[in-house]
Every structure is written in structure tokens, then in C-alpha cells.
Symmetry: C2
């Protein structure tokens, strides 16, 4: 019999590593390939970045509680967030859709309204794509292209020992928005007459359904003349992203629980679900904030921006990847978040 | 009740037009947007092209008779064919996959073997992508990027009256390859003990399962200093593509049945299915040949290349889009092919 290795045994990142480990770039113009938020291409001395995401119904979104306009908006945001995470400015996107006959033209128009709203807000052009019939489920594939000043792109692999670890906005909200919507969907399916109880959860639901990309931060860093030493966006949860930067930069890290920014509404939502807000920030995905490292020399310049929190620092690889709790205990940061607390 | 317009009522091209008619490009770098084989981006005076395709299991391919390695190869080819159709050279691709747990790592390796084989043959780098679980069906999204000398890209909309219409290679083969494989699949499902009878059909099956992109033609045109006035690849059948060039260039066209290149093996396969070989060339898709128009002044230069057939010429729009049969009759070219003959 042929050997059979389950994809799940490798995990998403293991799988990507397995499939791409033998790539040798052939074109001098391919500066950064697989393994970062986006690839970087040299165009005759100037540079562009490119990134792509695939969103599948039932896996990445549930049409039971996702308005199509929001879905269109978010499909653009998740991609251009990767462009900003390279310290670049998104300029164009392509959009491919697989559509089942369940969709009407009116439904599709609603989806595109969201796409165009995001394009307009972020100054991005929709320049191409593909439409196909799908036998089942809505398939969305977006590719985003951006510009970056020569050699100003920021990778994940270039953090230095002693650099400060910074994150933007606040974390964990999108995860709790998802928890609420999933709960209400379950209640609705069991008792359709019950009215949804989402009052007071607008903030976390908005974080899930209508995320924004942190253009403002990239603009600020440019204006303040801060070039992060490493950067990525936070799409899979803070823990997972810190581990990416540590692995790719071959360093350790220390972060402080008390420094992790969590909104008051997110904290309240977590308590309703009897969840630890810090665990939600570490392990919950889809916040689309930025995680970056800066030289300590740039610390003063950061203070002007309330949207940026310094949460820790990069360490020698031997020191591991640690989180220090409010109570002063130290735990390993794990990809699934803060397992020790579960 | 909300109005509901079925997507099928618009057709693929009607749908794209509907969804994209209000696009206003915001970035000066967006030179060509939706509506051609690929988009063109200006990078500080130099130009790149970008194109994307979505391939869905059960719609674009059937794993019952498509070896995964061939599918990986073809996924790259169909995209870079669009880059060549802009008169550009493909340099990079991104690849996103939606995978169900039916797939093993070994199966995926086979798919990537084909991807890498195509990348190597055409000098293209795989620089990024995304992997996602899919609840059902294999989803493949490829985006290709290419380079083109400034203002040497060739659109669909710039053919001139009197230009010669040329196509490369031979047509209709892939359609007949599909017909054979579908027939054998049906026989197999009804009587699994019957051995498949594909002897003698290697050519047409190869045309379907392992198409190539016409890099050689783009190289030849460059060497011969022929800049086509309009160009596209033939993915949906010759009729449909000629109508695209006519519509976008606002012209009519005349083609001659006897000039349409059809391989002997394709003719023989058509006869076995009691199909008209010309109808297969006009309406059958997936040949991935190039269709282009050239100024009459360039005719002499073409004669050196046996892979190029001159099949007709562009006319005033009032003259319509006509095919003249071997018997001397004239029919309208329709998107579904040569309906008058069916």
C-alpha cells in the first residue's frame, strides 16, 4: 500500500514548510518568497509586495451571521493587512470568486459593495480576477499588491536581541465576537423564536465582522522615522505570531501579561463566557492588528502613539519564549496560547 | 420580496461586466484593469502584469481521471498562458489551496511536483500562497506575475481593420480529450471490469491533461520584431475569443474554416464521436493556444513559423463576425461556436 500521511499531522505551518522547503528562486526579481506576510518582488530596482488569501464558506466565515457587505469588506482587509505588515502600501487587488447558484446577482452586488468600500477607503484598485461556478459553498480568493520604498520592507526574520516587542490596538475582541455569534446561532437553530441578545457586544462583534487594516500605524511609523526590525499582522493570535517572529529571527522573547492591550468591552465579554481575557488575546485570531519589534533607541518616538503598546522584548534563543503573568509567574508561550492556564 | 436575479441570466462575461462597470482606478500605477487576460501595473515607469485563476474540483477538473501531478502542472500553465497573452514573460506565481482531509501529504506532494515542474520549465518562482481546509472539494487559486518591456504589453482592444487574425498550434484537441475521458469514466462507473480504451487518443488526452503555454511564440514574435496589435489566449474556444477581440476592438472579423488548424489526431477523434472537427475547434475550450492580430505589413515575417496560422482578418464593425466554410457558405460566429451547423 502507498504510505498515507495525514495533512493534520503536519499542521498548517508544517505543511507549508514541507511543500516549499525545496524552492530555489530562479528570478533575480524574487527578493522575498514563501514564509512572510507577503512576497517582495524587485521591479528594476523598485520593489512591490504581493500576498494572497483564500476564504472558504464554512471554514473562514458563516453566512448565517455574516452580512455579505461585511464579508466583501473583510476579504479585502485581511489581504491588505498583510501588505501593511510588510511596511508597504497596498495599491491593487485581484479577486476571484467561486459561486454556487444559491447566490443571486443582488447578493453578489452586496458583497461587492463591501469590496469597493474597502478599496475606496484604502486607496486600492480592483484590477482583475476570475469568477467560476462552485458546486457548493462560496469561495473567495484575494491577491493584494503593494509598493514599498527600496529596501524598506520589513520581514519577520530580522528582529534583534533586546528589541522591544510592540502591538497595536487591542486584542482578543474578534474571538469573543465569534463566540457570541456562534452562541446566538446555536440558540436560533434550537429556538427560532428567541430574539438574539447581542446588546452590549457591538464592539467585539464589530471586531470580527468589520476589521480594519492598520494603515494609520504604517503612516505613523513612516512619519516618526521608525523602521521596525521585524513585523507581521496578528491574524492567528498573539502567541502564534510571537513564536513566528522568534523562530524566523532565531531568538527568544519575554512578554508581560499586564502589558497586553485588551479593551474593556472585550474583558466584559470574556467574563460572560467565563474565559480568561488574556487567553483570548493570546490565542484568539482575526484581530488584524500589527505585531512588530523596534530598536530600544526608537522607544521615545513611540510614546506619541496611544495605539501602540510595548509588551515585551526579544531575548537570546536559549532563554525561550516566556510570558510573565500579573502574579509574577513565568510560563512558556505555546502556539495554542497559554496552555498552562487552561 | 427582494428582487432576485439569477447569475446564470447574465452569463460569466455579463456578470463580470455588471460587477466591475463602476470601477474607477485610483492609482496611477494601475494601467490596465479588469477585462483583459491580465492587468498591467506600472512600477515607476516599468511594467508588470498580473492575472489570476480559480480552479474548482467538479467544475474545472475531475480527479477521477486527472493525475494530481498533471493538475499541478496545468494550474500553473493556465495562468502563465494569460501572462504570455499580454506579450509578457511570467516571473512569479502565488498558489492558494483549499484541501479536504481526503488529501494525504503524499497526494499533495504529487500535485506540487507538477507545480514545480511547470515553474522550472517556464522559469517562474513560486513566491507565496495560502493553505486552508476545505469542507468539500479541492480548491486551487493561482496568481501569476510577469514583466513586460514598457508599453509592449498587448491588449484585446487594439486590433485594427485589415489586420490579419492568427492562431498558434492546433485547436479542438483538449475538448476531444475531455470527451474521451468522460466516456471512459461513464463506462467504468457502469462496468468497472472493462479496461479503458484510450489507445490512439494520446494526443487529444495530452492536450487536455498536460497543456503547455506558448512561450515559444512570444519569443519568436520578439525575435522577429512583430508586435501583435491585439492578443489573448484561447481558453474558451476560438469563436468566443474572436468575439472578445471584435467586441473590445469594436470591429468585425472574417475567418476561413479551411485555415483553422486542426491536428490529424483531433480530426480522427472527432469522427469517432460523430462531431464536426471545426465545431470542436470553434467551441471546445482549454487549448491554451494564442490568438492574435498583426498588421498586414508583418505577414512576411510570420511565414518562418509553422506554428502560426493566418485564419482571417479584421473587418469594419458593420460587416459582422463571419466564418466562411469550405463549401463557400457564410455564417455568423456565435459564442457557443458554430450553431448553424449543429
Amino acid at each position: 500500500m502507498e504510505p498515507r500521511t495525514e495533512i493534520s499531522s503536519l499542521g498548517e505551518f508544517g505543511l507549508i514548510e514541507h511543500l516549499t522547503k525545496n524552492i530555489e528562486l530562479q528570478n533575480a526579481s524574487s527578493i522575498v518568497g514563501v514564509g512572510d506576510d507577503a512576497a517582495v518582488i524587485d521591479h528594476f530596482g523598485k520593489q512591490t509586495v504581493i500576498t494572497t488569501d483564500l476564504l472558504l464558506e464554512g471554514v473562514h466565515f458563516d453566512l448565517a451571521y455574516t452580512p455579505l457587505k461585511h464579508l466583501g469588506y473583510k476579504s479585502v482587509i485581511v489581504n491588505i493587512s498583510d501588505v501593511y505588515a510588510m511596511n508597504a502600501t497596498p495599491t491593487q487587488i485581484t479577486l476571484s470568486l467561486g459561486l454556487s447558484n444559491r447566490f443571486s446577482v443582488e447578493a453578489l452586488d452586496e458583497f461587492y459593495e463591501g469590496v469597493y468600500a474597502a478599496c475606496e477607503k484604502y486607496g486600492v484598485d480592483l484590477i482583475g480576477g476570475d469568477t467560476a461556478s462552485s458546486l457548493k459553498g462560496f469561495v473567495i480568493s484575494v491577491t493584494a499588491i503593494g509598493e514599498v520604498a527600496p529596501d524598506k520592507f520589513v520581514r519577520r526574520s530580522t528582529a534583534q536581541k533586546g528589541d522591544l516587542i510592540c502591538c497595536t490596538g487591542d486584542l482578543g475582541g474578534a474571538y469573543l465576537g465569534l463566540a457570541f455569534l456562534e452562541r446566538e446561532k446555536k440558540i436560533f437553530l434550537e429556538s427560532p423564536q428567541v430574539k438574539p441578545d447581542l446588546e452590549g457586544e457591538k464592539y467585539v462583534i464589530g471586531r470580527l465582522l468589520k476589521p480594519e487594516a492598520r494603515k494609520d500605524i504604517i503612516d505613523f511609523l513612516g512619519d516618526a522615522e521608525i523602521l521596525p526590525t521585524a513585523m507581521m499582522d496578528i491574524s492567528d493570535g498573539l502567541s502564534s505570531e510571537i513564536l513566528h517572529i522568534c523562530k524566523q529571527s532565531n531568538l527568544g522573547a519575554v512578554i508581560y501579561e499586564e502589558k497586553i492591550p485588551i479593551a474593556e468591552d472585550t474583558r466584559n465579554a470574556a467574563f460572560k463566557f467565563e474565559l480568561d481575557p488574556t487567553a483570548c488575546a493570546l490565542s484568539g485570531g482575526e484581530d488584524y492588528e500589527l505585531l512588530f519589534t523596534i530598536s530600544q533607541n526608537d522607544y521615545e518616538k513611540l510614546l506619541l502613539n496611544e495605539q501602540i503598546s510595548v509588551i515585551g522584548y526579544m531575548e537570546e534563543p536559549e532563554k525561550g519564549k516566556k510570558i510573565i503573568t500579573k502574579g509574577g509567574n513565568t510560563f512558556d508561550i505555546t502556539a495554542q496560547g497559554w496552555n498552562a492556564f487552561r
